[in-house]
Symmetry: C2
Subunit: 193 residues, 2 copies
């Protein structure tokens, strides 16, 4: 209940219907919203600032599904006010732009994923396992095919549901993909043992 009061105070949850001076009634929609907040914070591990931003996007129903989706996916990985989706400066992300040339049309330079990619590429370079063109040519089509299949499941009748699906799917399938990759590694290592 302390959590609920906190979310109410923060404007993340709409007030219930007052039934007396000290009691309010909460309906199905409140429960759905509470579960969503919990999924984003506890399960996906997002900080409150990003959770609030994503809820704000869900509450702006005038936008198209696609623009909401872009903004919501951007909000997953950044607290900043930086406009998402903008084509980024080539000089600031040299590794990413070099990678994009190998990856082809399926990967456009969009923020903030481009910045994430730059940091990730710098880290593997630093430990001496750089993302060579050969490696990127393996990742590119497989990951692109996964992303296509994931977004083909997007509900089209309801933009709010579509954005919830995209945000939760993006954040919560990362651990699924990581676990499957490790399981495949262990299976291959064992086969070769």
């Amino acid at each position: 209940m302390a959590r609920v009061k906190f979310y109410l105070r923060e404007g993340m949850l709409a007030p219930g219907r007052a039934v007396s001076a000290t009691r309010a009634q909460y309906g199905e929609e409140h429960l759905h919203r509470l579960r969503l907040i919990r999924s984003l914070t506890t399960v996906a591990g997002l900080p409150l600032s990003r959770t609030r931003k994503i809820l704000g996007i869900l509450d702006a129903p005038e936008a198209s599904v696609e623009s909401m989706l872009g903004a919501a996916v951007a909000a997953l990985s950044s607290d900043g006010d930086r406009t998402s989706g903008l084509t980024a400066d080539r000089d600031a992300y040299p590794r990413s732009f070099a990678a994009l040339e190998v990856l082809g049309e399926g990967y456009q330079p969009r923020m903030p994923a481009l910045e994430q990619l730059e940091n990730a590429l710098a880290a593997v370079e630093e430990v001496g396992i750089p993302a060579t063109p050969e490696r990127l040519e393996v990742y590119g089509p497989h990951i692109r095919a996964i992303a296509e299949a994931e977004l083909s499941g997007l509900p089209h009748d309801n933009s709010r549901a579509a954005v919830e699906y995209a945000v939760l799917g993006t954040a919560l399938y990362e651990p699924v993909i990581a676990a499957l990759r490790r399981l495949a590694h262990q299976t291959i290592a064992n086969r070769d043992a």
Copy 2:
């Protein structure tokens, strides 16, 4: 220097060659080890306990590359003493075993990736985007192909180098894969907008 003393005290770094009562000389091998510790802790974000465990595996040169690899990949995600690679209890990991039936032979039930998978599958189920067989049939072959290509780059002449490659590659390519997936999502959402 405080860090170096700490690693020496913890036995993670071998002592240098004493050149006087208060000074020691460190060579190329020490620098390599220091970079490795830094990659595991700072870049991959592993707790010290797991870093120490992985260093211990690297220091046991009698084992085969494959058994070292299995143990090292297991150490990445668990501090426990649980034997890695053991086939796990079906009842304790119901979602994972159901998923494995869909995924086929490329994914064997190995710990601890199986436990990671169970937790990840429970999380997506909870938010109403469960890993259906259709979804798993998309992930399975693509992730398996990525894992095969990654392990085909394993150095074969030196088991210590192979394990370093596998451990760093497993941990540090997760963010690369996540960033590429988000970039693909954003590209697709933008195309459809």
